[in-house]
Amino acid sequence: MVDFGGWDMPVNYGSQIEEHHAVRRDAGIFDVSHMCVIDARGPRVREFFSKLIANDVAKLTQSGKALYSCMLNEAGGVIDDLIVYFLTESWFRVVVNAGTRDKDLAWMRGIAPQFGVELTERTDLAMLAVQGPNARAKVAELLPAEHRDAALALDVFFGRELGPWFVARTGYTGEDGFEIMLPTGEAARVWRALNEHGVKSAGLGARDTLRLEAAMNLYGNDMDEGQNPLESGLSWTVSFENPARDFIGRKALESLKAAGLQKKFVALLLEDRGVLRGHQKVIVAGQPDGEITSGTFSPTMEKSIALARVPRSTGAAVQVDVRGKLLNARVVKAPFVRHGKILVS
């Protein structure tokens, strides 16, 4: 067990690699109750999020649709990354990280009053992520008959209430699956029932190797308040399209773009033997100007992979200082693995 944002969480239940493979090949379950669920209510809630986050909630036109985004400070630094669900014009739900809960809530509460938005932390809800090619079918087996079809009909990146549960077709593994918010008192029973349906318990360790293979960022490793989303591989989550939308951090990002970005965020595949880890230096043109933000051994590829922030001019070949040895790595197109398939050769 490790401390994770004040929560005692298991790194692994048994073999971390077996937990990883279970998610890629069948189904695994993660307890992600540490994630902080906040309901935002009020007639101007859409306006609130339009100001608060870098992605544009105008993209959310259908009830239940989710959007991934960063919440930025005025300097364009990333306060947190989050998922926001549009439920009604007066009710959005947002899920933020555990380690950033206090500062996120304080930041959001500083802005909400301008829009008459009321924020309620849903500490009454647990969250289970059931992920893998067979995950949705196995969850459906546990649902009451009247909710089964509705759950299976959910499109990718949509969520909806089904009785006391909120079921969303989202995740952090690069596999299909559900994230389920449910009353805390039900979580242990549902966990055991899923185990009995062949869904393997998986810990934080497998969650990290799965998300890295899927090239999904981890807050605190890959970006933080000292980094902007444009140099963190998150440009796709920033919407400049509507010139009238004055989201927090916009001016700073536009100045950075006008001045010319210095860094870029890349995926690396280690060609030599070894394991890339966070904070190792990436050597580009003889200079240690890049840094690995997350690195691991990919159980699916049986090679080491990483995400790194490197100079804009970086080409296809780099070296990484791994415990004093210079190892060869290659810049590749992310993600490494998706839906059980290796995408990098």
């Binding site: 790194v11 360790g205 070894g274 159980p299 080491s304």
Partner: protein, 128 residues
Amino acid sequence: MSNIPADLKYTKSHEWVRTLANGNVEVGITDHAQAALGDLVFVDVPEAGKSLGAGDSFAVVESVKAASDVYAPIAGTVVEGNSGLGSQPELINSEPYGAGWIMRLKPGGAPSGLLSAAEYQALLDAEG
């Protein structure tokens, strides 16, 4: 419970030492150490001929979670690194005291400060 064979010697840094018939010693990491590291994915073994002082780092074992140094229990000269670990680092998980050995060493002097199985067990008990 960790497996701690009675016929081996141990270090406080969780290596084991087996004296071979020809006087050389075989070194690996303990069952406790492999369990704490988790699934091993990479081992950097030493090359034959390398000279080591007692307490020198002679290998790196990496699990999915972390990298750890392995330290020489005794001074000496490396006779052989276990090349089998290159393709099968998981042998350290499955057979820490057997096929998962890491190096064989020609001792440069008499070993000192090694722990018996009972002393190593007491160390693990104290670490909780």
